[in-house]
């Protein structure tokens, strides 16, 4: 059951093989057994889940909804505001924050009848690539409990991989959906910037943040995106672009598909295991009739530095609201206003968040703005132009998702540069707003690795189609973590 597809579960729910309540109780039990080890959830919402499940069962019995997500247990990254439920963003700062409203994504999934099991662990304010910056502690990778699950949507990725939920929401600012998906052997989709509403999704870097999905299969991702996508009048940066039926085009023929392999992403120092795994996947595409060609994205070396100016700049401003005045952590007995600000923020934020606030404050300061922030935004245009030119020649671009498989917990916490380079291949998509996903390829030394596919703006249907085709001819996405973990 925990490893069935949404389509199978939906069928079984409708044929009465089990009820949503039974399904939900089963998952709640798995969470109770396995989560103490994995630490994938910050909170579980049993009461809400069971209520939603019994409501779903009523609708299932009356045959009133054909939505495939009706009665399906999912989890939300704890960055999405959920009415009446703690929404911590992985931070001590918001440990006491009970959101009085639902994010648009949450509202849409609720309306579709999905069942919320709980809120998943994450790097604090989504700043991290290992889930180790969470105030609630690191998350263990179900494939190897000594390893990180990736981040920042590490809790969602680990939960889906370990069968603690069928699907989970995530957010991606520099790779926060795709990199953990890759490290946990699942499918992670970051849609085009503006495809999914950001309303109620706690902001890290507003021009980069995009909500998306973590699922076992591409088909499940398509089912989730179908519900989540669309213009939201509450988010001015969401785009009024028609939402196609993603399931309809999943099986479309891809012979003649032009695949671009950017030479900068396959440099000599790429780990040979990762390279082989990606090469094997690309060979499958060639068998399916796709044409592969080398392309160049000349500004690739500027992607990481550009990101580490833009993202901290926006975060320094976005996180100013956590000041101890209206909500969130407030220090004991503030002596005066300055003391209230300083201690509330010093106590409420962890070291990585503070580091980025400081970098961001610096690059926006008078006298440095032009040299850093403005320059970074200009470079961003150059990076976007690289992709525009590449997409004139190819339909999709394929790269490894992460330069390495899951690394040891603690290994990179003292080496920030190594940590920042974890997102080497995933950062360009948020910087350019392009949609991208990661799907599992063959295991590398027993650990999952991923293939990243990027497409043009709003071509999620193409992306899902291309990725789905691979999952039809390979079984990499059906591999499961060790039984010792998932049968706990």
């Amino acid at each position: 059951m925990p490893y069935q597809s949404i389509r199978e579960l939906a069928n079984n729910l409708r044929t009465g093989q089990y009820s949503s309540e039974e399904l939900t109780r089963n998952f709640l039990k798995r969470i109770a057994n396995i989560n103490p080890t994995l630490n994938a959830f910050i909170s579980t919402t049993e009461e809400i889940a069971l209520k939603q499940a019994t409501d779903a069962d009523k609708l299932l019995r009356s045959n009133e909804s054909s939505n495939l997500l009706l009665g399906i247990p999912i989890a939300h990254k704890d960055i999405f505001c959920t009415n009446g439920v703690k929404t911590s963003c992985g931070s001590h700062m918001l440990d006491n924050f009970i959101s009085p409203y639902d994010a648009t994504v949450v509202e849409k999934l609720n309306r579709a009848g999905a069942v919320m099991l709980g809120k998943t662990n994450m790097d604090e304010f989504a700043m991290g690539s290992s889930n180790e910056t969470s105030w609630y502690g690191a998350v263990q990778n179900p494939w190897d409990l000594t390893k990180v699950p990736g981040g920042s949507s590490g809790g969602s990725a680990a939960a889906v991989a370990a069968g603690l939920c069928i699907a989970a929401t995530g957010t991606d600012t520099g790779g926060s959906i795709r990199q953990p998906a890759s490290l946990c052997g699942i499918t992670g989709l970051k849609p085009t910037y503006g495809r999914v509403s950001r309303f109620g999704m706690i902001a890290f870097a507003s021009s980069l943040d995009q909500g998306g999905t973590l699922t076992r299969s591409v088909e499940d991702a398509a089912i989730m995106l179908q519900v989540m996508a669309g213009f939201d009048p509450k988010d001015s940066t969401s785009v009024e672009h028609p939402v196609p039926n993603y399931l309809d085009s999943l099986d479309a023929d891809i012979s003649g598909l032009r695949i671009g392999l950017p030479k900068e992403y396959f440099a000599a120092n790429l780990d040979s295991g990762i390279a082989d795994s990606v090469t094997a996947a690309i060979a499958e595409y060639q068998k399916l009739g796709a044409k592969v060609q080398d392309i160049s994205l000349p500004h690739s070396n500027l992607v990481v530095p550009t990101y580490y100016v833009v993202a901290p700049a926006e975060c320094s401003s976005n996180l100013a609201r956590y000041d101890g005045v209206r909500f969130g952590h407030r220090c004991e007995n503030p002596q005066d206003l300055m003391d209230l600000y300083q201690r509330s923020r010093s106590e409420g934020f962890g070291p990585e968040v503070k580091r980025r606030i400081m970098i961001g404050t610096y690059v926006l300061s008078a006298g440095y703005y032009d040299a850093y922030y403005l320059k970074a935004q200009q470079v961003r245009q150059l990076i976007a132009k690289d992709f525009e030119e590449a997409f004139a020649e190819v339909d999709v671009i394929m790269t490894p998702t992460s330069p390495t498989t899951a690394f040891r917990i603690g290994e990179r916490m003292t080496d920030q540069v190594a940590m920042y380079l974890s997102d080497l291949y995933t950062i360009a998509a948020p910087l350019t707003g392009l949609p991208a996903l990661s799907i599992p390829t063959s295991l590398v030394n027993g650990l999952p690795s991923g293939l990243q596919i990027m497409a043009k703006h709003f071509e999620e249907a193409k992306l899902l189609n291309v990725a789905h085709k691979l999952q039809q001819v390979t079984d990499w996405h059906t591999k499961m973590p060790p039984k010792s973990v998932i049968d706990m």
Partner: protein
């Protein structure tokens, strides 16, 4: 040494929209604290701003009225600073690309000459909340009702040379926003607030002196007084060998002084950058044309029209057009009474005096324009004299009816019957032989006394002109 004063003003006009600039919460003044602050205004985690299109339309209208360039593309920026009544830790404002570019207005100086004041820019931004320091026993209360209220910040060039010019300019802007009906102009409620940048320099020196910024000027009178004080302070400082510090100063109207708030060094680095939550505003000409299509007649044009159409002096026309409601009132009175000079004198005289006595705005006058017009028509058609009209006006003010009713009820018709007047004249001539003798011996002034006696006898109802003529004839 003689000094030249250099002043530039920053005016914040609260735009008349029903809801806030980036949220759907209401903007009504005076509600219970924090009842008009929604999750967006509170800056809760995850919320996003959505621009109120009406605020944009109002800003475009203002730009058009000051002959400014409306930027085809403008950008919202975040102004970052910490303050308890600023929920997000930044204010959404505009920095590098404001919606309204350079424009200008004309002000009328005391010597009746005109001066053009250049406007640098006007941009849209959100207001902050209010910190309430009283009633909380050492704590500070925060009211976020005002947070997110749309403001248009109007920045002038340093073209103003005296407190009077500054005040005339501020009044002009106040007049324009009210004519456009984009701001209620209520200064007590903070709908129209002014900051002044003040510096001095030796007369003839092209370089600007170090400026101070005066905050908290919420009336035209305080604006003038604060600048007066500040100029003198700067002159005294420099003349005694000191230097003006670039700083922000607060005006204290109770003591009529300005005192330092923060120096340049203590000033915030606002770290402006384009707000990634809001798309740049991009206008096509059609949007701008639609926004300004039904623009009302503006004060300068109306002032000109009043001079030609009603044969008024520039001074009178300027005064009557100082406020749109007043100008409307005047025009209605003038049309009804068919005598524009009479209408102008009464509106600026009796009516204004009555309003001032009762501390009322023209919009809440106890005698409306139609009623005053009908009263003045009775002067114009000689039913009553100007003097009697004042009595009638007082009665109207007290709500005793319209002009005709009061004239009828109190029998105040002017006596134009020459026989009746002749009788009274004869009676006065008979009863005042001394004065009659004096007049006849060349003391022309005595005539006034004799006219007065006739008026007294007729209870003021005789036509004074007729009385005058009759007396002269009879005493010749």
């Amino acid at each position: 040494m003689s000094w030249e004063t250099v002043i530039g003003l920053e005016i914040h006009a609260q735009l008349k929209t029903h809801s806030k600039i980036f949220s759907g919460a209401a903007t009504t003044f005076g509600a219970e604290p924090n009842t008009q602050a929604c999750i967006v205004d509170l800056g809760l985690p995850g919320v996003l701003p959505v621009l109120n299109n009406h605020a944009v339309v109002l800003a475009v209208r203002f730009g058009h009225a000051i002959q400014a360039k409306i930027s085809k593309r403008s950008v919202f920026a975040r102004k970052n600073y910490f303050y308890p009544d600023l929920p997000k830790g930044y204010q959404i404002s505009q920095y590098e690309q404001p919606i309204v570019g350079t424009g200008q207005v004309k002000i009328l100086l005391n010597d009746t000459s005109n001066k053009i004041i250049r406007i640098t820019r006007a941009h849209l931004e959100e207001d902050a909340g209010k910190s309430l320091h009283e009633d909380y026993h050492g704590l500070t209360g925060i009211d976020l009702n005002r947070a997110g209220t749309p403001l248009l910040e109007i920045v002038s060039e340093p073209d103003l040379r005296s407190p009077q010019e500054a005040s005339a300019y501020a009044r002009k802007i106040h007049q324009i926003v009210q004519y456009l009906d984009i701001c209620d102009g209520n200064m007590q409620e903070g709908s129209f607030r002014m900051d002044a940048n003040v510096s001095i320099r030796p007369l003839g020196e092209p370089k600007l002196g170090t400026r101070t910024e005066l905050k908290n000027l919420n009336s035209f009178r305080f604006l003038e007084k604060a600048i007066q004080f500040e100029v003198q302070r700067q002159v005294d400082l420099i003349e005694s060998g000191g230097q003006v510090l670039q700083e922000t100063r607060l005006y204290d109207p109770n003591q009529n002084i300005t005192r330092p708030m923060r120096t340049k060094e203590e000033d915030y680095d606002y770290r402006y950058f384009p707000d990634p939550d809001l798309l740049p505003l991009e206008f096509d000409p059609e949007f701008i044309n639609a926004a300004v299509a039904d623009l009302p007649e503006l004060p300068d044009v109306r002032c000109q029209r009043l001079q030609t159409a009603y044969k008024l002096s520039e001074y009178d026309a300027d005064l009557l057009t100082s406020n749109r409601v007043l100008a409307d009132y005047f025009e209605e009175v003038a049309t009804i009474c068919k005598n524009s000079k009479l209408a102008a004198n009464w509106v600026m005289g009796e009516l204004t005096a009555a309003l001032n006595r009762n501390n009322l705005e023209i919009s809440s006058s106890l005698v409306n324009a139609q009623a005053l017009g009908e009263l003045l028509l009775r002067i114009h058609d000689q039913t009553i004299s100007g003097k009697i009209a004042k009595t009638v006006f007082d009665a109207m003010w007290q709500g005793k009816g319209n002009a005709d009713q009061i004239i009828e009820a109190q029998g105040l018709h002017q006596v134009t019957d020459s026989n009746a007047i002749a009788q009274a004249v004869d009676q006065v001539i008979a009863s005042c032989p001394t004065q009659v003798e004096q007049f006849r011996s060349g003391k022309d002034k005595v005539l006034g006394f004799l006219v007065g006696q006739v008026m007294k006898l007729t209870k003021g109802q005789a036509n004074p002109k007729q009385v005058n003529e009759l007396l002269r004839n009879k005493l010749r």
